[in-house]
């Protein structure tokens, strides 16, 4: 990568204090993100979502985010306050969550929600914000934006809801989009549509994308690079197309445990967890780019 990375993370830690000492939900995590599609895979509890939330400044007290270096372009994220994060979210860095049913405001029309983001970040007039929102709805391939603008979240389907979320997240032109299981709540055919749109938007705007998912097939077919997380750490970084050549026994175990169409095995190999995978790794693992 020749240009400066959009996001640079070195030795990120997310710590929750507990009765038996601190619990490190994320530890030794280092990576950089350029104008690329970066996947983070892992099982529940691996720290993949927590990593995304830490970058967004969404770790609630008593959880703490610590890092040697957490840089978004020219902004040092480790020093800014909640008010500072509010200005960044949406404008510089945005997040799409799993289920649009829970991430959209149920009592505000979807168009207004999109326009609100525009008004907040650009101090724009009602009219200009409405116009921008309609253009965004059209950009995510909704054919009749005028009509959808006035609909409420319960009136739209899951796939439509996720398009609306993407429109809302991208309206202020962020550099980075973090998508946390953006299609897990959707039907397979709709998944493909939403991913295609996300891909198109990220490419045409030269954004960086972090796709967080438990779905290995999805991540390896969609992304450029994949970070594999286990127990809060990045255990392996692969080129997405070469995920099947992964070296780490955890990654290999996960791949082997997946049932495969056309390759029916009497017994699926079960993942044998090795306590050695829990040992702290040097923080530099994820930086190989």
């Amino acid at each position: 990568m020749t240009e400066a990375p959009l996001l640079s993370v070195r030795n990120l830690r997310v710590v929750y204090p507990g009765d038996d000492g601190d619990f490190r939900a994320v530890r030794n995590v280092s990576f950089t993100l350029g104008r690329e599609r970066l996947g983070i895979v892992g099982e529940s509890g691996s720290g993949k979502s927590t990593t995304g939330r830490a970058i967004m400044g969404l770790i609630a007290s008593p959880g703490r985010v610590e890092a040697d270096h957490l840089q978004l372009g020219d902004t040092d994220l480790s020093t800014i306050t909640e008010a500072g994060f509010r200005k960044l979210r949406g404008k510089r860095i945005a997040m799409v969550l799993q289920d649009p049913k829970f991430s959209l405001d149920p009592v505000m029309s979807v168009g207004k929600q999109i326009a609100e983001t525009h008004r907040y970040h650009f101090r724009s007039s009602r009219k200009a914000a409405r116009q921008a929102a309609l253009e965004m709805l059209a950009a995510v391939h909704i054919r009749d934006p005028e009509r959808v603008y006035d609909q409420y979240p319960h009136q739209v389907s899951g796939g439509m809801g996720q398009r609306i979320m993407i429109a809302m997240m991208l309206i202020a032109g962020p550099d980075i989009l973090i998508a946390d299981e953006p299609t897990s709540a959707l039907d397979v055919s709709v998944q493909q549509q939403v991913l295609t749109i996300m891909d198109e938007m990220v490419k045409s705007r030269g954004m960086g994308l972090i796709l967080i998912s438990h779905n290995l097939h999805l991540v390896s077919s969609f992304c450029d690079r994949v970070l594999v997380m286990y127990a809060g750490q990045i255990v392996e970084v692969c080129d997405a197309g070469k995920l099947h050549e992964a070296q780490h026994p955890y990654t290999r175990g996960l791949l082997a445990a997946l049932p495969e169409l056309g390759h029916r095995r009497a017994e699926l190999p079960q993942l044998q967890r090795d306590p050695a995978w829990l040992i702290d790794l040097p923080a530099a693992v994820g930086t190989a780019a």
Binding site: S44, V188, Q192, R264
Partner: protein, 257 residues
């Protein structure tokens, strides 16, 4: 073992009538496993629930083990079919121990030997004595789903109905549960009907697979044909493509509200 003939399920009436399943027919031999795939709203779970007797069917005939099932099921018929649900976090009572959960069906059906039955069911699903007096929150996701399977097995059913039994679980845990189901089917000679949106999961367990969409059974295929792409319906092909991961070719992204 299961005979479904021209079954339709409807909700509501008059202008708001919804036909959730339309004219669905299939047959499952004793000891076979059949899978139903389709998207949400395709009617796959509706058909399963009608077979389980959880919802009434409006038309058609459902026969299990040679007996035609009325909409109001006699209690003893429920011993023949048991169901495992998607989310073990939701399907187990949070303030009842594993022991209480497993004892309930025994009490309902006035069976003897509760102690032995509970221990047998626990052993069958690979849980030990130490899990018996735990609450669901003291178990992992995989262990909870094992308890749900044990609860289904405790009445010694002939038919196991599986509604997305692994989709709430991690990949490594999914493998454990799929292996367990394969073993149970073989050892106990169970007949299985499984519903899932994951083609690879369903093809792992089932020999024959029905593709559903909008309440209709579009086609019946086999795991082998599916794997080799020998499917007729365009919708089945779409499912197949999506199963392989992200593939933007041929995706029509425009939608109308």
């Amino acid at each position: 073992m299961i005979d479904v003939a021209a079954v339709s399920v409807t909700y509501g009436h008059g202008a708001s009538l919804v036909r959730a399943a339309r004219n669905v027919s299939f047959h499952i031999q004793a000891g076979d496993a059949l899978g139903l795939v389709g998207e949400s709203g395709s009617g796959k779970s509706t058909v399963m629930r009608a077979i389980a007797g959880l919802i009434p069917h409006a038309e058609g005939r459902i026969a299990i083990a040679g007996r035609v099932m009325p909409n109001k099921r006699p209690r003893e018929s429920r011993r023949v079919t048991q169901m495992v649900f998607q989310d073990p976090y939701g399907s187990l009572h949070p303030s009842q121990t594993v022991d209480q959960t497993l004892a309930a069906p025994i009490a309902i059906h006035n069976l003897d030997n509760a102690e032995a039955r509970i221990m047998t069911a626990l052993t069958e699903v690979g849980l030990g004595r130490e899990h018996r007096f735990r609450y669901p929150h003291q178990l992992s996701g995989g262990q909870r789903q094992r308890v749900a399977i044990a609860r289904a097995l405790i009445l010694e059913p002939k038919v196991l109905l599986l509604d997305e039994p692994t989709s709430a679980l991690d990949v490594s845990v999914q493998a454990e549960i799929l292996n367990l189901l394969t073993r149970l089917r073989r050892d106990l000679g169970l007949t299985m009907l499984m519903v899932s949106h994951d083609l690879a999961v369903i093809a792992h367990i089932c020999d024959r697979i029905g593709v559903m969409s909008r309440g209709e059974l579009l086609e019946m295929t086999t795991a082998t044909d599916l794997a080799e792409g020998r499917v007729n319906h365009p919708y089945s092909r779409q499912l197949l493509r999506a199963n392989r991961g992200f593939d933007p070719s041929g995706v029509d992204v425009d939608v109308t509200a």
